[in-house]
Symmetry: D2
Amino acid sequence: MHMTTTSVAVAGASGYAGGELLRLLLGHPHVEIGALTGASNAGERLGTLQPHLVPLADRVLQETSLETLSGHDVVFLALPHGQSGAIAAELGDDVLVVDCGADFRLADPALWERFYGGTHAGTWPYGLPELPGAREALRGTRRVAVPGCYPTVSTLVLAPAVQQGLVAPDVVVVAASGTSGAGKAAKPHLLGSEVMGNVSAYGVGGTHRHTPEIIQNLSALTDQTVSVSFTPVLVPMSRGILATASAPLVDGVGADDVRAAYEKAYGDEPFVHLLPEGLWPQTQSVTGSNAVHLQVTVDEDARRMVAVGAVDNLSKGTAGAAVQCMNLALGLDEGTGLTTIGLAP
Amino acid sequence: MHMTTTSVAVAGASGYAGGELLRLLLGHPHVEIGALTGASNAGERLGTLQPHLVPLADRVLQETSLETLSGHDVVFLALPHGQSGAIAAELGDDVLVVDCGADFRLADPALWERFYGGTHAGTWPYGLPELPGAREALRGTRRVAVPGCYPTVSTLVLAPAVQQGLVAPDVVVVAASGTSGAGKAAKPHLLGSEVMGNVSAYGVGGTHRHTPEIIQNLSALTDQTVSVSFTPVLVPMSRGILATASAPLVDGVGADDVRAAYEKAYGDEPFVHLLPEGLWPQTQSVTGSNAVHLQVTVDEDARRMVAVGAVDNLSKGTAGAAVQCMNLALGLDEGTGLTTIGLAP
Amino acid sequence: MHMTTTSVAVAGASGYAGGELLRLLLGHPHVEIGALTGASNAGERLGTLQPHLVPLADRVLQETSLETLSGHDVVFLALPHGQSGAIAAELGDDVLVVDCGADFRLADPALWERFYGGTHAGTWPYGLPELPGAREALRGTRRVAVPGCYPTVSTLVLAPAVQQGLVAPDVVVVAASGTSGAGKAAKPHLLGSEVMGNVSAYGVGGTHRHTPEIIQNLSALTDQTVSVSFTPVLVPMSRGILATASAPLVDGVGADDVRAAYEKAYGDEPFVHLLPEGLWPQTQSVTGSNAVHLQVTVDEDARRMVAVGAVDNLSKGTAGAAVQCMNLALGLDEGTGLTTIGLAP
Amino acid sequence: MHMTTTSVAVAGASGYAGGELLRLLLGHPHVEIGALTGASNAGERLGTLQPHLVPLADRVLQETSLETLSGHDVVFLALPHGQSGAIAAELGDDVLVVDCGADFRLADPALWERFYGGTHAGTWPYGLPELPGAREALRGTRRVAVPGCYPTVSTLVLAPAVQQGLVAPDVVVVAASGTSGAGKAAKPHLLGSEVMGNVSAYGVGGTHRHTPEIIQNLSALTDQTVSVSFTPVLVPMSRGILATASAPLVDGVGADDVRAAYEKAYGDEPFVHLLPEGLWPQTQSVTGSNAVHLQVTVDEDARRMVAVGAVDNLSKGTAGAAVQCMNLALGLDEGTGLTTIGLAP
């Protein structure tokens, strides 16, 4: 057990992911919060930028630079994509670098270029410990690629069925998301007046950047490339994703087979909660928590499995996963500083 | 042209569908609003129950009975399912009866019994004029079954592709809906505290009552039974449905074929608006209007067509369709008293 | 009766006030919509910027200039403050100019400079016909200053009591407003993530620009300067203002006196609706309508009158008032193209 | 220091206050959660009723009775008013009883009868430790009356000014509240469809039950009865109260005097956070936390002090205060199990 205090820095502390990281780190018993950095708002007090983080109100944001970030045991990067590679290269190999951005998630450089543009930075251990083999790869690592919020829930909601071959490798995911996933940069279509009383789809037709990540995750569970039709939908709330996923049932597979696969896959997982039969996930139940709530059923008429998952995009979908992975990398108990208890209503 | 004044009664005037009917009828130039009836709130003033309908504030709700409803040219029924049949039987054949409930939508008595229970009341002309043949059947009719809100948008968003055989008859629809579709009866899970900041799926696995109606509509467009995986999702807003639909593309079909089919199908429809390429529907744009906004694309990786549609569940999804059908039945211009202009933001 | 068609131009057609103006003008029987202008988005299609205005989807925004705006009978200005004066000076005196901005609302140049900065443009007839003498001044005018949204409801909710001397000239107003009042320019604190699940006060301590306008309106009703403590509060909805106002009761004044004063003041007003006793205003009831809902009571323990008013900030609070004033100026029926019916729920 | 484990029971565990108590108690290091009781839902699993409380999902609600509640060190009562007295009388004097309801808050039986009806149950130490003398009275007590949510923030936002005589004893409070304060019982006006996009005032004119509690609190700080005009406003969010309070400044008092009084009063309070000048409270910053955020200014034109306070009605407004008082009563560190960090956005 690692009982000494770990010093952490957070690059991108003024954004939503950075704020959620700090909220969790403030409650982590083995962590000391060091440098906090920003871009255009360097020099401002955190009390102005993140007024909910009262204990850090007097902290002043520094510039994001090697100088400010070095000297910590752990550096969390919550930056726009494309910026993590250069910083990570300069930080020593003994520093644990946890990238909340997309730079090191994809294995295929061609997919990176197609969806993000620019040069692929590389591939780091993928921070979804609930996937087969992932937890082992994260123990002791010094580099972590935190998954995207949509891929986290889209992968977990489908993984047991895909891995067990209970469904055809041809899945459809429609995921309703709160607005915080789009970040804190002011854009007209994200104004309160535009999102309240309004639901809209975007990135339709497989164009959302999280699509190849979902395909990568699911395809790794089987010997086939999984076809994924993914549509994100923006809904009037700040936090949370509800993913509705379905796939054709393989002949002979029934409801009991499906449920058994999910129970087996997640029975020992501390943060994946398969609800009792008849209850369906709701995002409110996981607000602020690291839990993923799942339910699954079978539509015999359509001969499809339908599974629904809920996650807090900022917590388990980003910052919670980052802390969970830090714990694994440092040899701490995986759940330290995290909770399965949501804030509702 | 029918220029005399038509007297209308509304049964169920205290609910959301009834309120929306009255809002539209107050703006209809050829209508005189007669009896307004309720159940438990008979005797109350409409000003208390529907304070937004200022011109009717002093009207008092009557009991729903043959006595109060008879003597009108048109009777709108906005009642819980199972109650319309008996009332309609007593009203004369010369009275136009527009049922906003489910009683007369399904053709198959077995499906009615499976999804609603009790005895099937019968089948009336289906009030979705945009379907092939439907407009003709509605002209001059004295009985109309107004479609369900989900079936309206789920059918329209898929119809051209299904009818033209551009997709396999195996569709997936995930539809995000505001809360008013669940009605005004107080239930704990519909409390503001439960729905704000929260998204949840319900009726998962093909169990929602609107599923067989969607199957019926789409199957009538082709020579096969269309398989429909339908999942409704409750989102934090009062009005509106956004349906995200997809289906496997038939070999050789491309984006141009799909778009051409939608342009041809809806080019002359006054209330179906295929958005310019690149723009995606949002529910706010159709709030309070009778318009359906649609967009369609092709996901070449997943080889699926993806189409999205937005509708106001209370307007075009219920009350607007009812008025549109009344206009057709009475020989009025189909759009009288209706608008394609939404209330945004 | 003016039955020929009036040509109107709208400067600032891409914003919220401009959009609401167009929504109302599309339903006005005597108006033809001419030039639509914008600033940074000149050249864009209105279908992209205001997708709810389907009939105008193919219109292209022009530059805001004398050239584009001239040649119309009516020009509506929905521009940032400080820009209306120069444009109005160039348009002829025979053109009806309706300014939805603040430039011509205040009579006192010193107050203008203190609250807005820059040079005072002048004072035009004030577009709140429900104030004593205002309707007469608006008939036939060619210049109208549309009131601010907060002043509209704050003035109407207090005017009868102030004018009749039933309360001391020392009022407190706390007004909860939806976000559309802050406009469509993207600012971080107006993001959906920031406003949903959140309530905040701003402009506290009499610093909001609408404060001197409320003082001006109320003071004109009595022979004293009325002291106004005004606090605006931002709440999680797009449209609507609910103003809660109170003032010390003068000795001997009771509930009956107060109610009688409001009934007398507004009994004949088409758009001011004093609710039956026991019912309190809610913003939903006036959404999209030109109505103001009011209620008033007396707190005998605190010896204060408390009055509450609801208005749609974009409709009666801005664009509806603009159309109402246009009707008066042109000699049309005052309510043409306007409604007292709200969109609820 | 009390390091043994304390057993606690919660009566009313299915409601919002009960759920929030359990959320906090699950994170409290010295507490073991014992009996959980309900009324109509006794026998149901907590996983169904409070799905966000994953660690308690398999707990079954018991009947609320002496039998189920006895045998614990602490009993929290989260019951409808009027029920706590009989239960408390039967529990021994050595049991700490923390009443989250209204039964024991008011000192004056006549006020109890006027506002609540029925017989006054008595008066217990008042659970607002931040008031003068209150903390001392709570240490070691075995009975606590948790304050109402509105009185908590309304009192704290005004107390320093009233106590120091900086304002006249004549205050106005308008408090915007989320819907969870109204509880989980299904009532039509609390439906999501009714509260979203809607703001309404209620209990206007001093009729809300929290009015006498605010008067009692403020009057105890001075030698005069403080006149309080209190108006609650329902806004579209689940949690949080923003109170806007004002009062006439005493002659000669300026902004510096006011700020100094607040800094002095709350400088050492762990849960009251006076924001830096220029920042105004927002409810999002205190969501889920035990903090109260305050700001104060002076309106020189109106010669009024204006103060704004934000609180989470369920946390510091109810359950957080209950835990804070339990800590004091048991001799634990006052902040054990509580946080000043909010959940935002």
